[in-house]
Symmetry: D2
């Protein structure tokens, strides 16, 4: 199991630690007075009792007419050293708006210069339901029952993932919809990529 | 505070008790082996630490062409004896799909003969965010931070609310969008009714 | 060129004749006093000058929870005797609502006992743009520039296509999304089927 | 009837002349070899026989999180000298994509420095149907049966309407949803503004 260092910024709980795709994790182990903060033990307990609310984002590049030209897929190392591909993903905190959570996780996974254009609409293009048991839905997550509001987010700046384990690969819509990519994506997210592409008319 | 009797059916946790609009409540107080079940104390604790996932539904009657002709609004008595108006609403349980939760709460609030036609789309028409502090969004809920996936659900049968405190009033879209109704609805749900009507082209 | 007989019912201009997928055609050749009626020559002329407004529908069967379990694909014989697969499709007439056009074409292609449940929402899941020149978009139509509002329509009755050339085949979502089916569908509609499946969470 | 001068740029048919809200009009009166071009007489004829395809846009300003803060409403003088309020609006030409038409009309009505961010999704938030006869739907247009795909379009630059008769007024969502504004808007577009606001969660 990877050694986990406390997050230097208690106001930022990080994409890796809270991410749907990251390793099991919680919150800073140090003292925190925000009642919305959960210790790792508490979060682990909650994960066995309640559906956890997540946001997920497929970062895209668009041309001047708003048409999606490229899709950003994250490369991530699991604690076991395997490389997997995933989306921007993370938990919504107590007291945080969905919009704020989406912005925070995009910034955390793509860096502060990504300049995302969050959609004005509050409705996600789909709701992805992750269950601990594979087969209940198209998505699964060993750790928890998570329900993710999924958005397509155009980014206009430079993406520099903050954490060493992360890299963003820009793919054409065709590559992103391929079986080859789907096989590399964790938790069934190849399906989510295709649904995202369909929502922007970029799935053939 | 109202005395709360345990739910006679442990498989049905009730619209009132888990409802966004109902009084503070949890789960059967008797023993339950499902780890997804929370005691009232545990649920109360979770509500101060995590956003709770809800579904909400605006029941509608449609004509033969799918056009919305009437809107069903629930009348409910609070524990303090006040009458308020609300929507079908309730929590998503651990391990339960959003679709199952939606069906369960519609049936609980409208009775087993309502014959709802759940939408084939998993995406809600909007996401309503309830915060304990009024003003953060259009919606508030003293008890918790709740995030509700909101759907319009045509019903084709007879609605007979199961619980004494409930009644369904069928209104025209114009009446449902009125300021008078909005003033009677709890938690800011007048806004949610208008957004629902807009999504079906029935808001003028 | 196929000999075209006048439609016996001037109030019904037929899925075949006005269909995006049917052969070039217009309206009854007999006199008609409705100014919205176009002769074949006039419609042919309009098709070279204006985008034509269409509706398209993917008929589906749902389970009791609203989940799509089967997809209806039409089999049609072209005037040249080739068999192709397509969707419910047809032109919106002058003075007709989109909803009425959708109902009319579903009934025309699936028969009067199909009992479709038109969606309450006026917004299509996508807009499919057909151009005479292949490659401008994912869709093409030799005859015209057509813009189709595309809907998923649950049907609850028995589908009996009215015209000899038509047959409805019910497929699983997986079969409907396959490359094999896409290759048989005319005008690029395999893409439209996939986008429809994605909109209902049934594309893997 | 207003005297109409030929458009100086035959490649740009202008918001006023083709706009849903502008006066009756067609295309350059000079010779044009594009078969998709219609003379005024031809367009007038088509308008009595076919539904015309339009796009409409509600320009908005968003904050850094994508939340709509302001809404742009156009002020326009009719040929009779009356002032009315309207949205960005215009016809889709033969051979033109919906996206291109949307961009062209936004640029025509708001100027080349508006820098619109067209949505990546091809699906409109609603479909507005205008009939010559009031009462068929929420929208009417004396001149024609028009079907408009309606979008919310964030703009990031400076809006300088190209034509003297136009001015853009920026309103808060509350002002834009008011009965006072609705009363000034032509063709029932107050309803369209409210539906647009609802789609971005900005209708209260």
């Amino acid at each position: 199991m990877a050694v986990r260092t406390p997050d230097p910024d208690p106001g930022d709980d990080g994409g890796e630690r809270e991410s749907l795709s990251g390793p099991f994790s919680g919150a800073p182990s140090g003292p925190n007075t925000n009642p919305g903060w959960l210790s790792e033990v508490e979060l682990a307990e909650a994960r066995r009792r309640l559906p956890m609310l997540y946001v997920e984002a497929l970062p895209v590049r668009t041309d001047g007419m708003g048409m999606v030209t490229q899709v950003g897929i994250l490369l991530r190392a699991t604690p076991l050293g395997e490389m997997t591909r995933t989306l921007v993903s993370g938990r919504v905190r107590y007291g945080e708006t969905v919009r704020d959570a989406l912005f925070r996780h995009v910034e955390n996974d793509l860096g502060p210069m990504a300049f995302p254009l969050l959609p004005p609409q509050p409705a996600p293009f789909t709701v992805a339901e992750y269950f601990p048991l594979p087969g209940v839905s198209a998505f699964h997550d060993d750790r928890q029952h998570a329900v993710a509001l999924a958005f397509v987010v155009p980014v206009t700046g430079t993406c520099e993932p903050r954490q060493d384990a992360l890299e963003v690969t820009w793919l054409s819509p065709e590559e992103a919809a391929s079986d080859a990519l789907a096989a590399e994506m964790e938790g069934g997210r190849g399906t989510l990529v295709r649904q995202a592409l369909a929502s922007v008319g970029a799935l053939r």
